[in-house]
């Protein structure tokens, strides 16, 4: 009887001790994603990926016994709402770091808030303005447009193609691409021989392509997100254009091949590596992470993991890296983030420094070509 009492007391003590450990305050991080609205194609996979990876970290026991608590708000792609929600995350939820927002417009709106409140923010949007000029508390995981443009021009330079016609969509994404294409052309010995646009809802681009055909460029580069580029691919096939067609990373998903059908064959574009994870050489340092991410996402959401989700995945993992090194206050997290070196994520291999908060190089992109309704890497 006596022995049993001691044993049960001991058991009780262990149990209490265990609860105390479990109850160690979780690390609270906030996330702002455009889960609904026009940018939902970004926000939805981002939310899914962030949730997935946080759940996994917690299921594995958290970080040094502390769980991560993820507070996600939907901005609906609205910059005003994003600012309100960012304030709410900081003041009410008292998060130590923020992931997101999904679009460049929202990110630019939220940046002053994060800077003022001194909370590290890892944006998931691509605009170069976010981290250039450098801001103390702002980082990002999405690849810059500059890198994608550079990747295409590098290939053209290799093939000695110099005359380029550009056809860009008249929205933020297209305008940013157009700016970069024009700005970087000279450095690669490339001249832009024609500059046309189309609006996001246009249904026929044969007029623009006919004009381009008359100019006879070496290459056409089209910068847009679905469905415009798919229409352009179809129109180009209809006109029997023999000029090589390059697209932007804005259409680097299977959806583009579905929409353009046969017309997609032979089209080249720069893409994040997640798209071609299975055909990457095993020597690629990202391959293991990428394969795991794709498989995991497939298991949880019955859909193909894309690089948009990858941006959120990278952001969570970068934060996890700082937590593992003991950082749990905004200032410590920021300092630790800046010291991140050679982190092999989904978007690329990140190395932040006090001069670079974007962290990626040109090798974050690979040039892919559509062949037999699938992607192959252009050597």
């Amino acid at each position: 009887m006596h022995v049993r009492f001691i044993v049960s007391m001991a058991a009780l003590c262990t149990l209490m001790f265990a609860t105390v450990v479990c109850a160690a305050a979780p690390i609270k991080i906030g996330a702002l994603f455009a889960v609904t609205g026009p940018a939902a194609f970004l926000g939805e996979p981002e939310r899914n990926s962030a949730k997935m990876v946080v759940d996994e970290i917690n299921a594995a026991g958290g970080i040094k016994g502390r769980k991560i608590e993820l507070v996600i708000y939907d901005t609906a792609g609205d910059a005003t709402k994003a600012v309100q929600l960012a304030t709410k995350l900081i003041k009410d939820d008292k998060v130590v770091a923020i992931i997101g927002p999904s679009t460049t417009g929202e990110s630019m709106a939220v940046i002053p808030v994060a800077e003022k409140e001194q909370i590290p923010l890892i944006s998931c949007s691509a605009g170069i303005k976010i981290t250039d000029p450098l801001k103390k508390w702002i980082f990002k995981t999405a690849q810059n447009d500059t890198l994608a443009v550079g990747k295409i021009f590098e290939q053209l330079q290799k093939q000695k193609l110099t005359k380029v016609s550009i056809l860009t969509v008249s929205d933020g994404f297209g305008a940013s691409g157009r700016e970069q294409l024009k700005a970087q052309a000279a450095a690669f010995g490339i001249s832009i021989v024609s500059d046309d646009t189309y609006s996001p809802k246009d249904t026929d681009m044969t007029a623009q392509l006919t004009k381009i055909r008359g100019i006879k460029p070496d290459v056409i580069i089209c910068w847009g997100t679905n469905p415009g580029p798919a229409v352009i691919a179809k129109n180009a096939k209809q006109l029997g254009l023999k000029i090589p067609l390059y697209m932007s990373h804005g259409v680097s998903s299977k959806k583009f091949i579905d929409l353009a059908g046969d017309a997609a064959e032979g089209i080249r574009l720069p893409s994040g590596k997640v798209l071609v994870a299975d055909v990457l050489p095993t020597s690629d340092p990202q391959k293991k992470t990428l394969m795991a991410f794709v498989k995991d996402y497939q298991k949880h959401y019955k859909a193909e993991g894309d690089h948009f989700g990858g941006h959120a995945w990278d952001a969570v993992m970068l934060l996890k890296g700082t937590f593992e090194l003991g950082a749990d206050t905004p200032a410590a997290i920021r300092d630790q983030l800046e010291k991140t070196k050679q982190f092999h994520g989904i978007g690329g291999t990140f190395t932040y420094s006090s001069l670079d908060h974007a962290g990626l190089g040109k090798e974050a992109f690979v040039l892919v070509e559509v062949k037999n309704k699938d992607w192959v890497i252009v050597k």
Binding site: Y198, D204, R213, K237, K255, L259
Partner: protein, 293 residues
């Protein structure tokens, strides 16, 4: 400027214009029967495409069977729209009705978004994708389908309005609603008919363009507005004038994009719309007091 380039602009313009014409006629039929502009017309165009996709993918029907089903369902929704939103109105002033149609279009678009998501979808072409050379220009088999079906529908339309009793009755309503009622025409039934015809035509337009332009829950907005422009150029006639209006609009857009700047493509359509409304509100071909059917 080479000839084949010009020919390509004109041919591309004609095929886009044919669609604008088809949608434009839908606008004018309802306008003539009821005196309202049905801003939900574009949504029936969207429904045509999206429902075809639904029957193709979810019900695994072949294309030839999916199309009539899609037309039937969108026509039924046009009927329902008239019954539930237009008819119950006690004091139907034009402004009330116009606002109701705008509300209806937002509702239809929202429901479609919930039902089918925000993705863009492709529909297979009716007969292959091999380009056909015409002079120095090229068109797709689908363009021939578009032009052919548009012509057929316009001919059928003409026959209905001039050679059938109910068509003549609808024209009577357009001339003078009150008088038509007095001679025993059921005006309310004619209004219902006008919604049936124009939603069916809208959905056909949506189906025949979908293989070229692809379809999504929000394609109806722009196509609807362009169709409205075509109807305005044609002076809201449900015959040849709107067709010519649509074709002119298509060709001007395509020439504008090719010769001036592609950035102004949509601006061209709306500048024409404003000019017509300012200078010739009766339409390009109408006399000041013209017959409106």
């Amino acid at each position: 400027m080479q000839f084949d380039q010009l020919l390509q602009y004109v041919l591309s313009g004609l095929s886009t214009g044919a669609i604008y014409a088809l949608i434009g006629i839908g606008f004018s039929i309802i306008y003539n029967a009821t005196g309202i502009i049905n801003f939900a017309q574009g949504e029936f165009v969207m429904l045509g495409g999206m429902l075809t996709l639904l029957f193709l993918d979810s019900c695994k029907l072949p294309l030839w069977a999916a199309i009539p089903c899609a037309i039937a369902v969108s026509t039924a929704s046009g009927m329902l729209f008239e019954r539930l939103a237009i008819r119950p109105l006690r004091q139907p002033t034009p402004i009330n009705l116009v606002i109701i149609t705008i509300g209806g279009s937002i509702l239809i678009r929202g429901l479609s978004m919930l039902l089918w998501g925000k993705d863009t979808h492709a529909i297979p072409p009716f007969s292959g994708e091999e380009p056909i050379a015409v002079g120095g220009a090229t068109i797709l088999p689908q363009h021939i389908w578009i032009l052919g079906i548009t012509l057929l529908i316009i001919a059928a339309n003409k026959f209905y309005f001039y050679h059938t009793i109910s068509g003549k009755a609808m024209r009577a309503c357009a001339y003078n609603r009150r008088a038509a009622g007095l001679v025993g025409i059921d005006v309310r039934r004619m209004v219902l008919f006008s919604f049936i015809i124009s939603s069916a035509m809208g959905s056909v337009a949506g189906i025949i363009v979908a293989p070229l332009t692809m379809t999504a829950y929000d394609v109806g907005v722009m196509l609807g507005l362009k169709g409205f422009c075509a109807a305005i150029i044609g002076g809201m006639s449900s015959g040849g004038a709107t067709v010519v209006g649509g074709l002119i609009l298509g060709i001007l857009e395509s020439l504008g994009a090719g010769l001036i700047s592609s950035g102004y493509k949509d601006a061209i359509a709306f500048i024409i719309l404003l000019l017509i409304l300012f200078i010739r509100p009766q339409g390009l071909f109408g006399k000041a007091q013209s017959e409106r059917v």
